[in-house]
């Protein structure tokens, strides 16, 4: 009974468990549910465990019991395809101008938003006219560049020469002129791990050590001597956010990950997220930064005692940090400057720090490092810095 209701719920992403489903049946067999209304409320309270899924549940319920059609994410998919095509093409403005049928010089005058809009319109026209058979819209294999197969989101709009300001020229980072030599290297891993070992919480000294108390009392000729010891506390939860965009971070990404993964057993929970340069509205769970976004606002759902560690060079164009739509990606229109997002994170997690592979003496040459330094306590990614960061993260307040 209602099995397909159950499976539809699962399909749209409501995490329903078989146990919960059986429980619903128990409720049904007990005669507790006598109408569709009853069923709606009961099934929701038994099956759905978070208000975030209430809307999805409503949709499925309406679909199953009232025959309402489930919405397909057409629009979104279309613009997704368009974006990846566009990003690829932007590497070659000549070709883009050709396929869009406009002059290359005119192309330069369009803002990224205008360009995107124009492109989408063309795309829709084309799909309507040719039903996917078009030479240049094909999503399968007919397009000059496939929309799948390459590093999604990792492709940057870069090829257009630097003086063309109209297209969002997502140039390679402008502050790459620091030493390539990583301060922390693979060979120092063992040492670094030792530093991380200090990330163990200690409770107040309020637990009676019975054995020691007896021993000391006897030693004291029967005069009671109570020995207290530190209470064990719940192990730490750690969120690691890594800047894995661009080659300048590359030597460190793996290193930092390995480091924290080795230390994983001493944490209660270790989550790794990725971002590029700075954090806007989303963090990503997958290194490609495409499939599994986590809205930054959702971070409030995590325990605020979680240690939030960011690893990144904090070097970027000031506009990326301070601008309203600073992201170098087309799709990321945050509407508020990244610096706000960073402040939000720092406020949400009082125990946070930023590890920076850039040598400390170069920090003052980069504007954005200074700004971020004011938001997060920043430490160099060296043995020394790691030790200081751990001490900072373990502070009581």
């Amino acid at each position: 009974m209602f099995t397909d209701f159950f499976y539809t719920l699962r399909k749209v992403g409501v995490p329903v468990t078989p146990t919960a489903f059986l429980r619903l049946h128990k409720a049904l067999s007990m005669g507790l549910i006598n109408s569709v209304d009853d069923f709606y409320t009961a099934a929701r309270s038994i099956l759905v465990k978070s208000e975030r899924y209430f809307d999805l549940y409503d949709q499925v319920f309406a679909h199953r019991f009232q025959g309402v059609e489930l919405k397909e994410p057409d629009e979104l998919e279309l613009s997704d395809i368009a974006r990846s095509l566009l990003e690829e093409w932007l590497k070659d403005p000549q070709m883009l101008a050709d396929v869009l049928g406009i002059d290359e010089s005119e192309l330069g005058k369009l803002s990224p938003e205008e360009l995107m809009e124009y492109f989408l319109e063309r795309l829709k026209e084309q799909t309507e006219a040719h039903h996917g058979g078009s030479k240049w819209i094909g999503t399968g294999g007919t397009a000059p560049v496939g929309h799948s197969g390459f590093h999604p989101g990792g492709m940057r709009v870069g090829g257009i020469s630097r003086n063309k300001s109209a297209v969002k020229v997502a140039m390679d980072r402008r502050y790459r002129d620091y030493s390539q030599q990583g301060p922390l290297t693979q060979s120092q891993m063992g040492e670094a791990l030792k530093r991380l070992r200090h990330m163990v919480p200690v409770g107040p000294k309020d637990k009676v050590n019975v054995r020691e108390t007896i021993y000391q009392t006897v030693k004291n000729a029967g005069e009671i001597e109570i020995v207290f010891e530190r209470r064990l506390k719940d192990r730490l939860k750690v969120i690691l956010a890594i800047d894995n965009g661009g080659w300048s971070m590359e030597p460190y990404v793996e290193l930092v990950q390995t480091l924290f993964n080795y230390a994983r057993s001493q944490f209660k929970d270790l989550k790794t997220f990725y971002f590029h340069n700075t954090i806007y509205n989303h963090l990503w769970e997958d290194p490609q930064r495409h499939y599994k976004p986590l809205p930054v606002n959702e971070l409030v759902r995590f325990d605020s005692a979680t240690r939030f560690i960011i690893v990144g060079d904090a070097s970027m164009a000031p506009s990326e940090l301070m601008g309203q739509n600073g992201s170098i990606y087309f799709g990321e229109r945050s509407g508020k400057p990244s610096v706000e997002g960073l402040r939000f994170i720092a406020k949400t997690f009082p125990h946070s720090s930023w590890l920076n592979p850039v040598p400390i003496f170069e920090w003052r040459y980069t504007y954005t490092i200074g700004v971020i330094h004011e938001i997060f306590p920043m430490f160099p990614l060296t043995l020394d810095g790691l030790e200081k960061a751990v001490t900072h993260l373990m502070r009581k307040n």
């Binding site: 409720a27 507790l32 208000e51 108390t213 719940d234 409030v300």
Partner: protein
Amino acid sequence: MNDGNQLKKFAGASQYVLDDELAKIVNITMALEMPLLLKGEPGTGKTMLAHAIAEALDMRLIVLNVKSSLKLIDSLYQYDTLTRLNDSRFGDSQRDVSNIEEYIRMGKIGQAFVSDERVVLLIDEIDKADTDFQDDMLDILDQMHFDIIEIDKTVKAKHRPVVIITSNAKKDLSDPFLGRCNFHHIAFPEPDMMKEIVRVHFPDIDKELLDSAVHTLYRLREIKNIEKKPATRELINWIRALKSDPDFKIKDLIKGHVPYLGVLFKKSPDLFIAQKAVGHFRM
């Protein structure tokens, strides 16, 4: 359905306005003998629900206020070693030092288990505790028994208590925890519902005051960038303040003059923002 005692229906209480949906959920949860997890904005009456159930069904209410430092064992029972040590040394108490059981005291969950009649157990603000605490506690509530290791005794629940668990809406609880309870999210009440709630607390309230106070509340809730929006609790306190002020006139409220903002906004940045926003109301 004839199992009278077990399936007493809950239909609201003198100080609690219940919507149909919630009533159904409470009754189903009680019949299925599962804990009910309530989420929702602060001040939407999560805790009050437990009080209301206890009152309506004439059961005793046992409240376990969860603190971050609370350990599961403390909510089950406590073995008072220090008193025993003291007694054994001075020997001037009535207790039998060799009988450990005399030094075992029941915690809140333990009390709910050993109670001679069915009780309502309210576990308030569960999200404050560690996830380990949450999971372990649900195990205990699932099986309805726990062991006292010091005296090797199993405490079984005489009657399954009605378990109400509340949680702040912000944080996620673990999956195993969610799997073991029924869930309901109490939405912020609609203005009409809100008026009814206020009327329960102030049966003789002036209609004009009620309308304009509720209207003002919903307007205030629309102010942006507020961390803690005023909710039912604040509204009721606020109306109480308005009623006790002899100088207050309803006309002022309609004109956009809002006194006692401090009752509605508890955080100083919020209050500051609200004061500025209320300034615009007047225009």
